[in-house]
Amino acid sequence: MPTREDRIELLQGTLDLLILRTLRPGPSHGHAIAKAIERSSDAILQVEQGSLYPALHRLLKRGWITAEDGTSENNRRAKFYRLTPLGRKQLAVETSKWETVAAAIARVLHRRERPS
């Protein structure tokens, strides 16, 4: 398990992107989303789980996801979030944006190691 220092605090926009990505395979509820983000990043990206909810509502408001009532895996009533077509499009846009930025940063970092 990574130590506390290794965990990276998420920027707001990044969390939104991660949520969208997590929902791509299908609808999910709050706790499951938090777990999925943790799991798929090998617990390096640590969400303070509460902050997930304002982010979900931000996405709801923009119309990128919708919420509906459903039953969770352990048979409890839960709110399921689902990606909308608009959200799916947004995910593509954000992903490519993120990749561009990440690549740019990588290039910048890489250039410092080159001999001048």
Binding site: H29, G30, H31, A34, K35, E48, Q49, G50, S51, Y53, P54, H57, R58, L60, K61, R62, G63, A67, S72, N74, R76, R77, A78, K79
Partner: protein, 860 residues
């Protein structure tokens, strides 16, 4: 944009989340307590999360609103001239409407001053033949009260004007006598003393103003013995300030209830079940009642009708019962006039809105570029409209605040100047309901005047505008400006023609015989009181003395007395039976001194006046009576049965012309005059015709007359002019307010026409410059602009005339001797407004025509 979901679910969702995390932790081998603590830690601050979620939804619209408000306020402040014009115009419209609403609120909406106002009813008898209100006999009242179960209470009352001597003070008081139940119905709690039993007629309960003004608020006044109407009475209690239950007066003595009551006392109605055949006289009352809980008006009506039918009234006229909600009785007549005034005020407000919309439109053309720019970079239309509306709202709030001040001032003026003309008007104040109304009105106004310009602007075609000149207004904006001008003018025509019709009515009402100057006639009333005047002889002697003394006074040209339509009779001709339809053959009877007719400037139509020495049996009738009972017959020499003495006949000696001196808004009533020496007098009105202004001579005259017998108070002293104008006070009230509205509307419209023309001219500066440069005469340019404005003016006037015709039909009942489609009035109004409209459009046209073409052409 998505709608805000139900945030109540959030609590459950968070709880579920933490439960799930706890279960996960337990599965990893933690103890239950540790597992929950870890889950909570991992979740973070729950309150904060909830706040953040809420903020996601609230922040946006709240931020937008605040931003809009800030923007709007900044814009308003940036153009103070426009702000003053808009807020000032709005203040007038909102102020007028709010003031009239305050009156409506007080007169029609506020509950009556009774414990159960909705269950308080007016009890009266109705003459079934002509549906007029009859007199209520004390015996009938007693039987109703004894037998009714639908009425929880029934209270008889009557007004009594008595001379009060509380030495050194002597004066005339209006005293209200009320039977048992009155204090319970009004919920009165005295501030001093205790309320006496209702059958004590010799204990007075003072109103607060009497206590303060007559007795200097001296608490020792309780128990003091004073003389009231010649008999002694004790002061028992003092009522709180503002105690003023609404008590209607007799229909045949209108306005009696407009005089403030000085004191109350008990009233002992006769015992129920009296044999009507055995009595000669019945006390006459007015009555109110309180329906028992859960009883409907219809039930009470049915029950009282049955009771009333069961009464054997012998010789007394057959009547039926009327049970009316007291509210309808008190303000029924004023209701229509007030609704009319409210409609007129709303007209002014609509004009105001149209005008402000115009102002905003003309300025908006300057902003079209900004708006086009914003829209071309993706500004939302909805957001834009909202922003423009926020700006309107800012103006409306300013206008509303000023308007409340205007309303407050107006209410004070109206109440001060016109209080006696409408029942309950004196109760008018600016209360919270009025303030709420003003606030709501401001918001609605903002929507009305803001929406048009906002929509017109938001349809701006961005590309066209950015390419073109900012001075070229879009056709949509120009059409909107024109339309609003037409609307304003049309409404102004309606206001003016209605005011004109009312003015003409009042004019007709106040046209006196040419020989009469009502400002020179002074009238004084005396009603006999006290032991010394029990018999007819001293009364007649007093009147003789009064006349003689009056004639000797310097400056008095003529003096006469009248009992002022003191009684009423059925006209029975000699040798003929009592007419079947009594109401159609009735007349009011006045006992007069022979000089009364000549004093009022009346002329004889036939025959002669009553003789000076007062020969018995002489009768003078007026034209209305001659028309009613002697159609096609010479009435002179005809003999009538005199009403107050059985089987005595009187001979008609003359016919005098009609005069409306009591209520000039009604047709002249048939009248019969006899000499005062042959009737039993209860009181007389002395009329004096003076050489000069009656007002000036008043104090000396009254002083000299009072010296004849200081125990007889002289009251209701006023000039005939004042009396006449009081009798048409409601009409004057309507007229004054409507005329005010019309003038305000006119001012606004003149500004509006000026504004629209000035704006059109400014939008066409280049074109005008070209015309001038090409050699057009100034006269031609002015003519062109005015002609174009006139097309809207003509349309407005025409529409206004059509609307006026409709409105006039509504106000027909308020008119007197004037047809609703009175051509001279309508023509005069149209001509006046057309002239003013031409003037208002000529000024900016003249300004435009003197423009220097080089400057005009350079203008952007």
């Amino acid at each position: 944009m998505t709608h805000r979901p139900d945030l109540d679910d959030l609590d459950r969702e968070i709880a579920d989340h933490i439960d799930a995390e706890t279960l996960d932790n337990i599965a990893q081998g933690m103890s239950e307590t540790d597992a929950r603590a870890a889950a909570l830690r991992k979740f973070g601050n729950i309150t904060r999360v909830k706040e953040d979620v809420r903020d996601v939804w609230i922040a946006a619209w709240w931020d937008h609103c605040r931003q809009d408000a800030r923007d709007a306020w900044r814009r308003v402040r940036r153009s103070p001239g426009l702000a003053i014009a808009v807020a000032g115009t709005l203040a007038l419209g909102i102020g007028l409407t709010t003031a009239i609403f305050s009156v409506v609120n007080a007169v029609l909406m506020r509950p009556l001053a009774y414990v159960n106002p909705e269950r308080t009813v007016w009890l009266s008898t109705v003459d079934p033949r002509d549906n007029t209100e009859g007199m209520l006999s004390g015996f009938d009242f007693a039987d109703w009260r004894a037998q009714s179960t639908t009425l929880a209470r029934a209270v008889a009352y009557s007004f009594w004007d008595a001379t009060v001597v509380a030495s050194p003070y002597t004066g005339r008081w209006r005293i209200l006598s009320a039977s048992d139940g009155f204090w319970a119905m009004t919920g009165a709690q005295p501030v001093l003393g205790t309320l006496p039993p209702a059958d004590r007629e010799d204990v007075l309960i003072l109103t607060h103003h009497t206590f303060r003004d007559r007795f200097g608020s001296d608490p020792h006044v309780i128990g003091r013995v004073i003389t009231v109407g010649g008999e002694s009475a004790t002061i028992g209690a003092v009522l709180p300030e503002g105690f003023a239950p609404q008590l209607p007066a007799w229909q045949w003595r209108p306005g009696v209830d407009q005089i403030a009551i000085d004191a109350y006392r008990g009233l002992r109605p006769p015992a129920p079940g009296q044999n009507r055949r055995a009595v000669q006289q019945a006390p006459i009352y007015l009555a109110i009642g309180e329906l028992a809980a859960g009883v409907s008006l219809e039930q009470a009506r049915a029950e009282l009708a049955t009771i009333h039918k069961g009464i054997d009234r012998g010789e007394w006229a057959a009547t039926s019962v009327a049970v009316t909600p007291l509210r309808d009785k008190v303000t029924g007549e004023a209701r229509f006039a007030l609704q009319l005034l409210l409609a007129a005020a709303l007209c002014v407000l609509l004009i105001t809105c149209a005008n402000v919309a115009n102002l905003l439109l003309s300025r908006a053309s300057a902003r079209q570029r900004e708006i086009a720019l914003r829209m071309s970079v993706g500004g939302g239309r909805l957001r834009l409209v909202r922003q423009l509306l926020a700006e309107s709202l800012a103006f409306a709030v300013l206008g509303g605040l000023l308007g409340i001040m205007v309303a407050w001032a107006l209410v004070r003026t109206i109440v001060g100047a016109l209080a006696p003309s409408i029942p309950r008007l004196a109760e008018t104040t600016v209360d919270t309901r009025v303030l709420a109304f003003a606030a709501a009105l401001s918001c609605v106004t903002a929507l009305v005047f803001g929406l048009g310009p906002a929509l017109a602007l938001s349809r701006t075609n961005a590309l066209d505008l950015l390419r073109g000149s900012s001075r070229t207004a879009s056709p949509r904006v120009r059409v909107a400006a024109r339309a609003s001008m037409v609307l304003q003018l049309a409404l102004t025509v309606v206001l003016f023609s209605t005011a004109g019709l009312l003015l003409k009515s009042v004019w007709q009402m106040t046209s006196y015989p040419p020989t009469l100057d009502p400002g020179q006639v002074l009238m004084v009333r005396v009603e006999f009181a006290g032991e010394a005047y029990r018999e007819p002889a001293p009364r007649t002697a007093y009147v003789d003395a009064l006349l003689e003394r009056a004639r000797q006074l310097p400056g008095v040209r003529q003096a006469a007395v009248t009992t002022d339509q003191g009684s009423w009779t059925v006209v029975i001709k000699e040798g003929q039976p009592v007419p079947e339809d009594r109401a159609a053959h009735s007349a009011t009877v006045s006992s007069v001194s022979p000089g009364f007719g000549p004093l009022l400037g009346l002329s004889l139509v036939r025959g002669r006046w009553l003789s000076d020495n007062g020969q018995r049996g002489e009768v003078l009738i007026n034209e209305a009576l001659a028309r009613q009972d002697f159609p096609g017959v010479d009435p002179i020499g005809q003999r009538l049965q005199l009403p107050w003495v059985d089987n005595r006949l009187g001979t008609i000696v003359g016919v005098v012309q009609d005069l409306k001196y009591a209520r000039i808004d009604a047709d002249a009533e048939p009248e019969l005059f006899v000499h005062y020496k042959h009737t039993r007098l209860f009181g007389v009105t002395l009329a004096l015709r003076l050489d000069g202004d009656a007002d000036a001579a008043l104090p000396t005259v009254v002083k000299a007359l009072a010296d004849i017998d200081p125990t007889q108070a002289l009251f209701a002293v006023n000039t005939l002019e004042q009396r006449l104008s009081q009798s048409i006070a409601p009409q004057r009230f309507n007229l004054v307010l409507l005329a005010t509205f019309a003038v305000v509307a006119l001012v606004i419209v003149v500004l509006g026409i000026y504004g629209v023309v000035a704006y059109t001219v400014s939008a066409r500066t280049q074109e005008i410059g070209i015309r001038v440069a090409l050699g057009a005469y100034q006269r031609q340019v002015v003519g062109m602009i005015v002609r174009q404005a006139m097309s809207s003016v003509a349309l407005g006037l025409a529409a206004g005339l059509v609307l006026s015709a409709l409105a006039a039909r509504l106000v027909a009942t308020l008119l007197y001797d004037v047809a609703p489609t009175d051509a001279p009035t309508l023509a005069a109004v149209t001509a006046l407004l057309a002239a003013i409209a031409v003037a208002a459009s000529t000024v900016p046209a003249l300004k435009a025509a003197v423009v220097d073409p080089t400057i005009a052409l350079r203008a952007d």
